[in-house]
Amino acid sequence: MEFAFEILRKLNPAALVLKAILVAIVADSLLLAYILLRRTYRKRYFAKRDARLLELRQKWDALISGEIPYETWRKSPSDRRLVETIVLDAFEIAGPQESARLLRFLRASGLIEKRIFGARQHRGWRRHRALVALGRMRAPEGIPALAEGLRDRALETRLAALRGLGRMACPEAAEEILIWVGESGLVVPEFPLQSALVQCCAERPQALLPYLKHAQGAVREVLGRVLGEVATPSLGADLLQFVDDDLDELRAAAARALSHAEPGMAIDVLSELTQDPVWFVRLRAVVSLGKLGHVNTIPVLLRGLTDSNRLVRLRAAEGLVGFRTEMVQIFEKTVATQDRYGFYGYLTALENAGLQGKLEAELKATTRISKQEQAVLLEVLRTGALPVAQPVSPDIAMSAVASRS
């Protein structure tokens, strides 16, 4: 303790405090001055900028058509930025015709060239800014420069290039992204990569398959997810090769993609995937079965109701509710499973879809079951309580369900 006191004494705070006061007061003054000066400067800057913006907007059509020579504004960096901002904002809400007109203007005025040059020659945040603008322009001639941006050392620049390519939403941009991912692996976060690929591969999902075959690890997962998102019936049997993949994500993606395939082929495969050890693969399979909306999926979805995972149960229930003409039979079978969670899942989905009244009416009208069974089912529907029964093992319940279906 004495030692600590000695140290404090030696530090001599009295000598330090005066210097500290001086530093603190100077810092206070500098910060205050900076805030006030910055505000004043910005106020003037924005007033000037807004006035010029208004001026440019007033002669917008003449500017776009080239009636006002491009050289009159292109040489001033601030005017150039303003014009570009107006065009890019207009691009966001433009229809096809207006987009084409704006693109012609961007080309003719040299704004695209300027940004391509910036994206290739600049470094750091200037390159980043050029890539963002180039992406917003959606001009195909910007694709090579954006693809070069993907190989930048800075993550933010790579992301700007990737998002720019995503905005292109064309197979050429997809090709560039896939080549780059194949070369460098996953060097950006997954979500922007997936989003960009989803946009670019929507037109031609087949482009993904060769890359997916050779991809490894995390890249394979990402590509799998993209495939799941963009798959179309045209992919057909190509999807089957991923059903037995070692990678959970890819099995899940295949399950997701199979919702677009022919029911005849998809149901058997999806049925197998509903028994996958990984819950999200089962979830994807159940969701896809629901989307297929084929009566043959009912027994599998009923089994999904008794899954160990609550999300799988919920999605299976949502899938079952989609069968509006078989509601009575499905309800009967759901009750037969004697699975409380599955049963509640089904009731939830039914109520969410606002179909409880319809089921009640159909139960009252049906002649397919005995009056006694009818009364029991109506009571179950009203009270939400399963009828008291001998404990039934899930296997027996499921076999009962299967035999009825």
């Binding site: 004494r9 505000r39 963002v132 989803v198 609550r310 009731l347």
Partner: protein, 470 residues
Amino acid sequence: MIHFLEISNHALFYYYLASNLSYLIMLIIAVKTSAAHQRRLESSMPGWIKRSPLVPPITILAPAHNEEKSISVAMRNLLDLDYAELEVIVINDGSTDATLEVMQREFGLRPVRAVYVPQAMSAPVRGLYRSDVDPRLMVVDKEPGGSKADAVNAGLNAASSPYVCVVDADSVLERDALLRIMMPVLADPKRVVCVGGIVRVLNGSEIEAGRIRRVRLPRKSIETIQVVEYLRAFLIGREAWAQGNMLTIISGAFGVFRTDLVRALGGYRSHAIGEDFDLVARLHRYLREKGADYRIHFVPDPVCWTEVPSDLQSLGRQRARWQKGLLDVLWPNRDMLFRPRYGRIGCFALPYLWLFELLAPVIELAGILTIVMAASLGALSREFFIQFLIFGYAFATVISIGAVLQEELTYKRYNDWQDVIRLVSYCFLEHFPYRQLHMVWRLQGLWQYLRGDVVWRPMKRQGLRSPATD
């Protein structure tokens, strides 16, 4: 004795120096981080995420207790948020007013038997309702649990999304708040387990139909001082701690969590005083013990606006409660201190909280007492004392102005010149007598906790009304 007093006064000086220096370091980190964040926003395009089919679903959990006046507007705001896959669960926590009736009337609630798995402890649920007007809305009506934690747990048991977002029903969220707060999750879904959003002071701003029309500073001094405090705490403190993955608190007013993890922890601790801090501390412990590679993020964009106390009594109660909450979490987790197993949390974040947050009022009080004793014994160097006061004042002001600067450089929500001048003025004015009052409230909180007084006392609220319309 005199020797001891002299030494203790010097120790106090170094304590203040260390406290303010640590804040200065945080300020530098925060300014740097915010600048990079601003640049990133240029190309991040939240609008794109809005339409993306790849975003994970979110369930918003909004506990409500006697909110009949504002519940309808608050729910509409939540349902209006930009997000593709959204579910809103409002938990009516045993309201004694017409909160449930208002919701039933406005949103056409009908009783449902939704899947409710009681994984997290909460008071019994009376009923579950789904809206006919908007099927994304669900209401859990439950017995009063006496705490927000209890209500959130009930919502958690009914949630069906992989992420839950806990909000206060009386807070105002910006329309793109969910898109912004989910950005870190989307960027790194495997590692990011929760994200906290910035909470800003709503008082004084102009509100229209539950949305902020114009951000203004509050009129009352006591509220304006809290604006400075919030800027300092969020734009400097949390931003910097999050940078080192050492964020120990995610505000209960707005935070996103991975549902499976919160469920694995058994939800919120029902009797925790600071349930938000408690949950994050338990998350850190759980994940560190599992050796998980995880991140807890903070989003500094202005996203959530909340009403702060506007009278001294309510503010005092709130601050005493926060101090109790701090002790309530730090004491049970004292075994994490300086244990390498808990990494930076055990070695930096928690010791900081003990030294500069929990014990701060005690050390301040001890400092005042020793100064008084030294003065009465003639051992106080007046010159040093005055210098010390000036230093403390000037240095603390640097930090507060730094927070205002951070706001100016980045988010700039106070556009009015008058507001900025007032904000800066309060950086100078908050030190006397507000800081001393704050110390007293915090000491009260510690005393109440030690006495076992943990009763929650409500604060007076104005609700979602604009002062301009009053």
